[in-house]
Every structure is written in C-alpha cells, then in structure tokens.
Subunit: 447 residues, 2 copies
C-alpha cells in the first residue's frame, strides 16, 4: 500500500490527474485520508475532487475539521449537496458541528424543513452527550410483525441503515419496547412473531447521558449498538460501537492532557496552531508557578539552617523529584482506576491503607539505598545523611497517601480526578518535604 | 438496579439462598460480577453457585483472574466442565491464561485430544498478539455457495458463533478468499453466488501482529471483526470489536503507568497486592533517585555562588517544578499523539519547530509574571530577579524541546515513547535548569 500511495503522490506532482483517478479506485478510505493530510493545503481540494464519487463522502467525514472547512469553502453547492446526501445522519451532524455557522447555512439551504429541524435539534445536544454521538439510521420493527416481514423490511431498507444487526421494536408512538438481533431473525422460523422473540429487558441510555458513561456500558456489556431514549422512553436514536471506540480514545486523551496540566482539546496535535497550544498550556503553568512561591517562602523562613549548612541545598532537588515521582505513581494509578470504573469513593479507606503499606515498603528500600549512596559517595557527614534519609522516608509515604487520596476526594465532590495528578501533587509534596527537611535538620544539626 | 443489588446482598447476609437464586434471574451479568467482587473472599464461591446456570459461564469469564482461580480451585470437575463447554473459544483461552498450570491441567483433562492441541497452540501465541485475542468461532462459507445455502448454513450454526455479521469465504485448504457481510446476504437475492458478492480486497492481520496495531486498524476502518491469517494466508481466527475495546483500554492504562514511572500491569488496582504494587514502583524510583545525584553534584559544584547569595536557593523549587511541568506538557502531548497514530518520526522537525514557538510564547508570559511577582512580593534585588527570570525563560523553552523530541527519538529506535515522560524529562530539565541558574547567577552577581 505504501508503494501505491507514493506512486499516486508522484503522479500528483506530475499533474497526471487522469491516472490518479484510475489509481485511486484501488485505494481504501483511510489511505486516501492520509494522502490528503500529507499534501500542501492548497493542493487538498484538487486532490479531493479526484477521489471516486463512491468514496468521496466517506473520505470527507474522516478528514479533520480544518480540512473539511477547506473543502467546503472551495467546492460548489451541488458538490456539497452530493456529499451530504450520502452521509449517515450522525456523520452529517459531526461534519456540521465542525463547520462555522455561515457554511452550515450554505449546506442546510437545500434541505427540507423537517430535516433542518431535526439537524438543529441534534446540533443542540451537549457536546459529549449520548445525543451528540447517536444516529437515527436504525431498523425499526413493530411487535406484531413476523420474522418474514421483518427480514423483508430489512432487505428493503438495510443498505441505508448504519447497523441492521440490532433491530429496535417500537410502538406507534415510538416508545422503545424491545430489541431483536439479526442473529435471532436469521436463526428463527419465518412465521414467528417479533413480540415472541424480542428481548424486552433492554439496556438503554438517555439523550443527555455523558458519552463516557455510555462507553462504560458498551465495555461492560460488549454491545455493538445501544438505543438512546428521551424522557418519555421514546427511541430517539442509537449509538454504535465504532463511535464508542473514538469516545474511549478521546476520553483517555483528555485525561492525559488534564493530568499534564493542560486545558484538554481534541484537535489533533499537528493541526493545532502554536498559539492555541500555548493558550492551553500557560494557565496551569502560571498557577503552579505561583503556588510554588510557597516553597520559596519556606526556604526563606529557614534561612538560618541553610546558612549553617549549605550542603543541605544539594539534596533538595533529589528530595523534591523523588517525592513528586512517588506521588505521581499513586495518583496516576488511582485516577486511571477511577476512569475505568475499578475504584470508587467508597474504596477510599482500602486504597489509603494499601498505599500506606506500599509507601512503607518503597520508603524502606529507597531510604536504605539513599543512606548508602550518601555514605559512600558524598562528603556529607552522618547528621546530614540521616536528615536526608529520614526526610526521604517520610516524604515517600506522605506522597503515596496524598497521591491516592486526593483523586478520590476530587471524584467525591464531582471534580475531575485527573486534576489531582503529578503537577498539583508535586507542589503539595514539595512544600511538605521542604518543611520536614528543615525541621529535621534543625534537630539533627542542633541549630 | 442498585436497590435490587443491595437487597440481594442483604439476603446473602441472612443466608436466604433460595430467595437469592430467584432474585438473580432479574440481574444482568455485569451486576452479578460487581456483586461477587464486593463480597468477602470466602463468600464468593457460595455466591457463584447461586447464579442461574444460563449466566454462570458468562459471569465467570468476566471475573478477575484472582476470582477465577478462587472458584476453579473450589468447585468440582463436572461444574468446571459445564462452564468451559459453553464458553466461546477466545474466552476459554483467556480463562486458561489466567490460571496456574495445575488448574489448566485439571480443566483440560476431559477435553478431546484435538481441542487440547488447539488450546495449546493458542496458549503459545505471545501475550498482546492478535493470536492471543482471536476466536475460532466464525462463520466460514465457500465461494460456490449461494446466498440461500449460506443463510441456511448460518441458521444452523449461527448460535454457536461469536459473530455472524461478517462471514469468511475460504478455500478447501482454509485460505482466506474474501468476506461477505450478513447485511449483503439479507439484502441480496437468494440465488446469487457468494463469489459474485464477496469482497475480495480484505483487510486482515496476521497471528503475530501486535494487538495495538490491530486496534488501530479497527479504529481507522470502523470494523466489527477482522480476520487473522497465518503465513500461508490461511484463516486462523477472527478478532471481534468487543475484545478491541478492552485492548484499547489496556494499552492506555499501560501508557499511563509507564509515563508515571511504573512497571505496567493489567491487574485491577484493588486486586494487586501491596507487595506487587511496591515492586512495580520501586525500580524506577530508585533509578530516578540515583540520577538525581547529578543535580546534587551541580549544586555542590556551585557552592561558592550559594555561599554568596543564599536567597538563590529559595527559587530552586519553583524553577525545577516549572521546568518539569513545561516538559511534561510537551512530552504527554507527543506520547499520546504517537499512541493514537497522529504523529510519526517523520514529523520530528515540524513538532520541534512548533514546540519552539509554543515555548517562546509561554516563556515570555511566564517570565513576565515571574519578574513582576518577585519585584513586588519578595525581598530579592534586581540582579537575583533577572537571574531567576532569565533561567525560567530558557528552561521553559528547553523543556518544550526536550519533552517533544525525546519521545519521537525513542519511537525511532523502537523504544516505548511513554518512557520519555515526566519523571525522566524532569530529571534532565532539572540538571539543565540548575546549571543555567548558577552560570547566569555568576555573571549577574559578578562572582
């Protein structure tokens, strides 16, 4: 595939557009998307126009928001219409969400009033809600149909539905009454009635549920699709597993970013402008820098200790880094366990007890290594060595406790646990480690 | 559901086992799993035995390895056999992988020789390979069958296959020739031949491919299942999307753990012993502690500067934390972008250029805030203020460059980019920040 792709890009350089059009019939959608994203901005529209009609719409939905905007603003109204007409409803909504208002207007100009209303309703679902990722292209059956009638209906509408593998049984007022899998339909006798084989005890989500909770249900149950209902239990759409894979990746990416003290964004890195990246990063950096003033005050407060023994300074970075690392391990473990649903607030005492045990074991090991390396490798005397070693010991245990408890407390008060990650934990642990260090030093050095 | 669950747990306390058995008919598998995991260890086997026969096997596969071991070692051979018989092949392999060798032997005792051979073959696929997550329960068709014959075949075997929604067309020697979706089968005329509707250009993976790469293909293509072939392009199994969701979560968890300087483990937190947790954490903590010695030597080397101006010490924690945070942001961004396939080594120059721009913007902002807060809030004189501010400025930019370049370089030499995360980056940035700080201090303070 790599070869074909390079060949096509060479043909593009040589402006052999007809040959490209031929060659692209052999290329699948993800590779066409890759090729467009490798091209210079000004070449992308031209290349997009060379893509076979059958694949163009699908390629379009897979492009990044930036590239969709480039293409929509360059191609003609009928061309846009052609793409929009073949898109599944949820992909259409995704595209419209990425475009600025004037382009949305341009696209919606030619749709029917009822479709426009429906689209506007979907555009109003909160970002990250089940409503915002659902599609309306499902197979609806009614309870008095037979398997034969159902299969005939699927044969008729099947190609325009996003999934036909789970069918939804609804009442005349669209209330969700049950589900039937295509597996059941093709393995049952033809005269059986839907109401006799449908599963009535259906797991569903509601339009306003958070997509993260929806993803958790998919994981727990191993579903391919899940119905979405409104307040009156009417079926408003379905969520399919392919969209859930994206949700799971997005939510992890968001956690990674928050845990590294950034404002989360789901725009791919290479397409985010450096201004935007800087904006997402500077807020937390400044906040953390200012809270680090506290450590400065602590040090100033113990100026006399430092004056008396400057060698103490040389161990500050090691103590800070080790405390930060120990806390980071605990908080990462707990934040991730909360995210995948393995740990809840009610486990707080269990978690803290466990981290205390872990902390003691790790602290004993590290304090021993540290004592020996100072003893043999640095010019510090025994009192200094013991000061450093004792501080290290207590700091490691404290870091484990803070690192594990804070994410759970954040979760309890409905904050995102991911905030309680390395950067914030480090700042807290630093303050304690330094205070402890100087207090112990005062005692040990008899100041 | 919460109510029902609490009620059942109360019935359990009251030893009303018959009532529980009744009540459990209303409970779905994920909730039964939750209940078992809430019980005390000694109660789990008893509770498991109360679960309706229809659900027992499914509940069993969803339990953690530890709980599976508890149950297998307590129940009788016929009971084990009953569970194993209804499991899908991939679930059976998952269970066997979790059990110690003597229990595996106990289970395999009563299986046929051919199945035992197959199971042994599967147990030998490397952990995290496509082979280790695939199943053999797929629907196989041959190219000369008609749609009618195919549907009849599916009707017959459908209930014992993990998915029937994609069917695999194979030659008499099991070479993969194409795929047909059930959607195509139910929307086509009955007399059409499979070879006329099958898709021959099939995306497949090979048995030894890494599960992370398989997951990426699922995401790019939106598949429900993907065929796995051996070196001779013979179909050895299929991977289904529900297993891929687990793979994606596992791989993210692994990255979180590596990035926080831990040896990764996929055992749930609450079930990992504190000894094991301590073991996973101490190695990197000790390595990082020892490398932090370098910063100690740097400080000792500039002892004269510190003697001359002890106030410099009070800014060390802030400079170190800020450098670490700035580097952490960049490395997290790049490690995650590599993991989801958005950034590759060939983007190195683009990435570094972008991070340089981000670094300059962020550094200007932070240096300004820092200058003002020292000027107005601390007793340091202008020379010290400028020393701190200049060090901060350069450190932030350097941290962004190191944080973004190292994960890409690690990726290039086939190391896991996640190693180049906060802990290691912090150690490197610390060493630079301190050296820079003292060199600038020497100049500014005329030492």
């Amino acid at each position: 595939m790599e070869d074909t792709m390079n060949e096509i890009l060479e043909l593009f350089e040589a402006k052999r557009y007809k040959a490209i059009r031929e060659a692209l019939y052999q290329v699948d959608v993800p590779h066409m998307v890759d090729m467009i994203e490798e091209l210079k901005t000004q070449d992308r529209v031209l290349f997009f126009r060379l893509i076979p009609k059958d694949s163009a719409a699908e390629v379009f939905t897979e492009l990044s928001g930036e590239n969709q905007r480039i293409i929509v603003s360059a191609i003609s109204d009928p061309e846009i219409q052609e793409i929009m007409n073949v898109l599944y409803f949820d992909d259409k909504i995704d595209v419209l969400e990425e475009l600025p208002a004037n382009m949305v207007a341009k696209i919606l100009k030619n749709t029917s009033k009822s479709e426009r209303q429906l689209i506007n309703q979907f555009l109003n679902y909160p970002v990250d809600s089940a409503g915002s990722i659902m599609t309306i292209e499902y197979v609806a059956l009614s309870r008095d149909m037979t398997v034969r009638e159902s299969l005939a209906h699927i044969k008729e509408v099947g190609l325009t539905r996003e999934t036909i593998y789970t069918c939804y049984v609804i009442s005349p007022t669209k209330v969700l009454e049950g589900i039937v899998s295509l597996r059941d339909l093709v393995t049952q006798e033809l005269d059986v009635r839907i109401e006799d084989i449908m599963q009535e005890d259906v797991v569903f989500v509601s339009t306003w549920d958070d997509q993260e909770d929806v993803a958790r249900l998919f994981r727990d149950y191993g579903f391919m699709a899940m119905p979405v209902v409104d307040g009156e239990h009417r079926l408003t759409g379905i969520v399919t597993v392919d969209d859930i894979i994206e949700v799971i990746e997005e939510e992890s990416t968001e956690d990674f970013q928050i845990m590294a003290a950034m404002t989360p964004s789901d725009t791919p890195y290479l397409e985010t402008s450096f201004w935007h990246l800087a904006k997402n990063r500077i807020t937390w950096l400044v906040i953390l820098m200012l809270t680090a003033m506290i450590t400065g005050f602590i040090i100033t407060g113990f100026n006399d200790v430092l004056q008396a023994s400057v060698i103490l300074v040389s161990f500050i970075p090691m103590l800070m880094d080790t405390g930060g690392n120990a806390g980071n391990q605990a908080s990462t473990m707990i934040i991730r366990s909360i995210a995948v649903g393995e740990v809840e607030f009610k486990d707080l005492s269990k978690v803290v007890a466990k981290e205390f045990a872990v902390g003691v074991i790790v602290a004993v090991g590290m304090a021993s290594v540290n004592f020996l390396r100072i003893y043999f490798l640095t010019p510090a005397d025994l009192a200094v060595n013991l000061t450093v070693t004792m501080t290290l010991f207590i700091t490691v245990i404290f870091a484990k406790l803070v690192g594990s408890a804070l994410p759970l407390l954040a979760y309890r008060i409905k904050l995102d646990p991911a905030i309680m990650a390395s950067p914030l934990i480090t700042t807290i642990v630093d303050a304690l480690a330094l205070t402890l260090y100087f207090v112990i030093a005062k005692m040990m050095l008899g100041l």
